[in-house]
Every structure is written in structure tokens, then in C-alpha cells.
């Protein structure tokens, strides 16, 4: 079991010594039991850090924000930044490193093992709490224990854990500078890609019914994109809404934007957006599940990303976030890649 005090001590110590300029971690949020991201620069605040099953944010997003900010103010970092990272988050960091988004020495990874558990899915939890709000969540090695006004409530992990954690193959941050918690890789509560496998038993027509329903509902709020550490492009190729005008933007750039899709949130455009996003995340998505969690209309985005992840793994032997030095999925190939589909 991870003693949260270890994380706090590490953060305080590094900040005090000036070894890092900030620590990105989790602290108790303002809404019930939920943790929220914390950007700590003052050693005195290190005591605020928490680690519990509500720490679902993929904080590597803030490494991206940090670099964007530094670029914007044209400053270079004087020290690395420390980040608390779960297995999936650490793999995201590896992908970012693979894509040279920042250098390995710019980041100090405080790895935290999920120790065979994972994070809570709020949507699964809600029906169990009878309308009460939990003020605390903990993992006792087998079950989640929630504190509500009614008292403590013990729920089997299997029932309220996020799907991606149930299916997680590597709940341990292999890439780290320091790591807390035991590596319990192999303790899976569900088969990898279990939900995907269930979905794929359906025929073409059923699958289309399912997806057309969801594609109709997408409101293109781009929450999935905003929350995703891999969606770090300044200008999204499929979106002509958030076209950023930087000092380097020329009039020609403005005129020459490709309008792959239209602004209106209609099905055809939503599909093109979501499918492009899935293609662009192929080999890069580490299944942190943030897109699906952030989606206000519950589009099962993870399923699309999972599909790409499984194809990459089964057809090309590719594991996202496995190696900093390796090539990207779509920028490489093997001589024996499948080609039976080609006439």
C-alpha cells in the first residue's frame, strides 16, 4: 500500500532543494471526495497532496500545458517539473517523450502503482450511494471504501472501478524516477479489451445503430480533445473553429486552411472528427480514459481508441508508450504486416 506521506515528503524535499520547479499532483477537490489536479510550487503545500481511487486525471496533460506556456512566454525551464503518474499516465509521458514534446530530463516522474486497483468510475458509483455524496474514497486491497453521511460503504472494486482499470494490462509506471507502491501487473479484474470484444460480436448493422446513435449525440464540445495529453496540436486538422493565430501565422496560412469538416455538429461531421481522432491516437493512446470521462454526453470514445490499440497490438505487435526511442506506429512498418485485405 502506498503511504501518501511518502509522496508528500518527496515533493516537499525536491521543492525545498530546488531540484524541481513544481510538482504536479493531486489534492482534495472542492466537490466531495474527488481529487483535483494540483500544481504545487511552495514546499509548504506539499502536505495537500493526496493519492486515492479518485485520482483519475491524467496529469501529463499539464506537462503539455506547461510547455505551451513556456513557449508562449518564450522562456526556458530552469529546472525539471515533477509529476505524479499512474501506469497509463506514465505511458502518456513516454509517448510525449517519443514525440520529442519535451526532454526526459525536463520531467521527474513520481510513479504511483495502482497496485492491482484503479480509479473509481463516478457513473458506476452513483447508484450505490443512494443520493449521498461520498467525502472520501480508499482502497483496502480488495474493495473500495467510501465515506458518506450514512457512514462507510464498502463496494467490490469490480463493481465501481473504471472499465479501463478493470481491463488494464500494465497498472504500473515502468518509466519513472521514483516509484511508490508494488508492481502488481497481471492482476487483472477483466480480460484486456473485454468491452471491445463484447461489442465486436455484433454485426455491421447493429454496430452502425450503436454508433450512429452516439455520433448523433456528440455536440462537438471538444472536451475529449481538451483533456487528452496527446491532442497537443495548436491547430486541430479537422477543426476550423479553434484556429490559433500565432506570430508565425501568415495570411496565406489563414486562407489555406483545409476544411476537412464543417462546424455544424451533425452526424457526418462528428463521425469524421471522432474517426480522425481515433486514427491520430492509434499507437499513441495509452487508454487513460479521460476522453470518455470528460464527455458530457457519454459517447463511448474509449471503444474507438481501444479498437486501434488492439489492432496495433495484435497486428503490428505495437504497444503505445512502451519505448521512448522507438518509432511511432504509423511511421514504421514490418515486412510481415498483414496485407491479406489488399487485392
Amino acid at each position: 500500500m502506498i503511504n501518501v506521506q511518502d509522496i508528500r515528503d518527496t515533493a516537499r524535499d525536491m521543492l525545498t532543494k530546488g531540484e524541481v520547479r513544481a510538482v504536479i499532483g493531486y489534492r482534495r477537490g472542492s466537490r466531495g471526495m474527488l481529487a483535483e489536479p494540483a500544481f504545487i510550487t511552495d514546499p509548504a503545500q506539499a502536505g495537500d497532496l493526496v493519492w486515492d481511487p479518485t485520482c483519475f486525471h491524467n496529469l501529463s496533460l499539464y506537462l503539455v500545458e506547461d510547455r505551451k506556456f513556456l513557449t508562449h512566454v518564450r522562456k526556458t525551464a530552469n529546472a525539471p517539473i515533477a509529476i505524479v503518474a499512474k501506469g497509463c499516465d506514465a505511458r502518456s509521458i513516454v509517448v510525449l517523450l517519443q514525440e520529442h514534446y519535451f526532454k526526459r530530463e525536463d520531467v521527474y516522474i513520481i510513479g504511483v502503482s495502482c497496485e492491482g486497483a484503479g480509479v473509481v468510475d463516478e457513473r458506476k458509483l452513483a447508484p450505490h450511494l443512494n443520493g449521498f455524496q461520498a467525502t472520501n474514497a480508499a482502497f483496502d486491497g480488495d474493495d473500495f471504501v467510501f465515506t458518506t453521511a450514512e457512514g462507510e460503504k464498502c463496494l467490490p472494486a469490480r463493481e465501481v472501478m473504471a472499465d479501463r482499470c478493470l481491463e488494464c494490462r500494465i497498472p504500473f509506471p515502468k518509466e519513472h524516477n521514483i516509484v511508490f507502491g508494488e508492481d502488481k501487473t497481471g492482476r487483472q479484474l477483466a480480460e484486456p479489451f473485454a468491452a471491445l470484444t463484447r461489442f465486436e460480436t455484433q454485426g455491421t448493422a447493429e454496430r452502425w445503430d450503436f454508433w450512429s446513435h452516439h455520433f448523433d449525440r456528440c455536440i462537438r464540445c471538444f472536451a475529449c480533445r481538451s483533456v487528452c495529453p496527446m491532442c497537443y496540436c495548436d491547430e486541430c486538422v479537422v477543426d476550423s473553429i479553434t484556429f490559433p493565430v500565432t506570430t508565425e501565422t501568415t495570411a496565406e496560412d489563414k486562407a489555406n486552411r483545409i476544411r476537412w469538416i464543417e462546424r455544424s455538429a451533425v452526424r457526418s461531421e462528428n463521425i469524421t472528427y471522432l474517426m480522425t481522432r481515433a486514427m491520430h491516437l492509434a499507437g499513441r493512446c495509452t487508454d487513460c480514459g479521460e476522453c470518455e470521462r470528460a464527455c458530457p454526453v457519454n459517447v463511448p470514445i474509449r471503444l474507438l481508441n481501444n479498437k486501434m490499440e488492439r489492432e496495433a497490438r495484435e497486428q503490428f505487435g505495437f504497444e503505445p508508450g512502451a519505448s521512448i526511442g522507438g518509432p511511432s506506429l504509423v511511421a514504421s512498418f514490418l515486412d510481415n504486416d498483414p496485407g491479406q485485405f489488399i487485392r
Partner: protein
Amino acid sequence: MSEQQDYEPRIVAFLCKWCSSAGSDLAGVSRIQYPANATPITVPCTGAISPMYILSAFNKGADGVLVSGCHIGDCHYIEGNYLARRKMHLIMQLIEFIGVEPNRFRMSWVSAAEGAKFAQVITDFVDDLQPLGPQDKLKKAERV
């Protein structure tokens, strides 16, 4: 049924310049007849075909999209078709996954010497698209 027969699938065919476009030229030189449903867009290499092109063609109303290039090992640019094979595998899987008929996307290897094969690929593709009817799943709705 008569409506079915009147239906002419619209195909966008992305052809690599060195093999498949040259192969379609050979089909022409050999006067091999095939359906006029596919409009070719010649690109330098299949490796240059972004998955966006496929999605965009469907979005703009293509009933079928063909990607055709040099046989493995024969790429004019050495390995462009290897990269394409991987990308096109992914896009095809994704299209099928969301419930679009897999027959709407096709990839083929047609060399500069395979004029007859090119004609056959188009003929087969049109035959396979006919029963599917117009593609309206990914197509942008007409403005009202």
C-alpha cells in the same frame, strides 16, 4: 430493382503515379473496357495517402474509395507502400468497426504492367458496391 440497376456508385480512386496510374494507362492503351464509376486522383505514392483523404472522400459522398499502388517490394520510393499498408489497415478496420460496409473501402496492388488487373479491380469494386446502394452513413447531409 430497376432503381438498383440505375444506381451508379461514385468511386474516388487514389492511384500511385508509378504503378497503378501507369497500370491504368496500360488498361487504356490496351483498350480494356471497365465501368466509368471511378475518378482517379494520382498521388506520388500510396505512402502519401493520408487517412484523412479516405474519410474526406466518404464525407463528401463517395460510395467507395479505392487506394491502389505498387506491389510490396516494388515501391518507387522503396517503402511508401509498406507505410500505406499499415495505415490503410487501420482505417479499414475503423470504418468496419463503426458499422460501415467493409466493401466500401478497397486497396489493391496494381503494377504498371497490370492493365488488365486494374480494369478488373474497378469492375469488381463496382460490382461489390452495386448491392450496397448509396453511401449515406458518412456523407455530409445536404443543406436544407
